[in-house]
Symmetry: C2
Subunit: 177 residues, 2 copies
């Protein structure tokens, strides 16, 4: 069991643009003990829940999303950027600071009444996760929780995900923490 998971996250200043400190999870994934501890910490809050599907958000959300689905005996559903999923999709648009983007899920990937856990590696402003949740609710899925390895709490993404149960493992209270 690794206690200080945040020590395995690499800070990369200036990526993808000046002023941003990128929180790189690849250094955590590289270490088997830290990787396993992070998985356990992500799994723990939802262990007692019935989860039918885990929705992982492209593309780093696929990593722990697939692992959570397997541990919870659930199916895995990828939520992807437009044009990536091959069959018929449902699409949800959302606003960015400059411009807009969209997220898609295959039609039929979620059935009415299914219990859904949403996962992404990082919660920033929460726009993508909120759009993914709206998509799931349009498919009549019930969102049990929204899970992140990292939360940039100074961006207040959690407010955008009210009233869902939001869980994060590692939190940063400032860009340069």
């Amino acid at each position: 069991m690794v206690n200080d998971l945040s020590s395995y996250i690499r800070a990369v200043p200036g990526f993808p643009k000046p002023g941003i400190v990128f929180r790189d999870i690849t250094t955590l994934l590289n270490n088997p003990a830290a990787f396993q501890s992070a998985l356990e910490a992500l799994h723990a809050p939802f262990k007692q829940n019935r989860i039918d599907k885990v929705v992982g958000i492209e593309s780093r959300g696929f990593i722990f999303g697939a692992l959570l689905a397997n541990l919870l005996h659930a199916g895995f559903v990828p939520a992807r950027k437009p044009g990536k999923l091959p069959a018929t999709v449902l699409r949800e648009d959302y606003e960015l600071e400059y411009g807009h983007d969209a997220i898609e899920i295959h039609t039929g990937a979620i059935r009415a009444g299914e219990q859904i856990l949403v996962h992404d590696d990082l919660l920033a402003t929460g726009g993508t996760a909120a759009a993914t949740c709206r998509l799931i609710e349009r498919m009549h899925g019930t969102i049990v929780g929204v899970s992140f390895l990292i939360e940039l709490s100074f961006l207040n993404g959690r407010d955008r995900l009210r009233p869902y149960a939001v869980h994060s493992v590692i939190r940063y209270d400032a860009e340069n923490e």
Copy 2:
């Protein structure tokens, strides 16, 4: 245990372009029993090997790649398209039918002498996987095997991956099979 895993793969004719039949794994991932059986079939050939790192190729290769790393008590290393990894990378270019592409791995993600399993969801012409293997060898890693959920054997990608141990779970002998 699901026996006929191929029945969970959806054929999508005309994606991403006319004449191509896309093999969609999301229908397999959606079913917990098929998902688990596919994972077991991918894991089985490498169970007895010491694997230090599993390299998963962007982005569908992250799904089973992360699961294999966890089962094998290995670290997980993402191999990504240019510009996606935040820190210093090693890069390998390769030819496509029309044009060229490249794949990157973080410097330091693989250490000399480490035993490496490479995973992607699908083996087509093998260009990306072969470039990933070259990258790993430039980092002095030893490739134990190259693993795919699906092999399009009519594209002869396996020839490009000689002399590695190539393993696939589901094979298609023709585009329209």
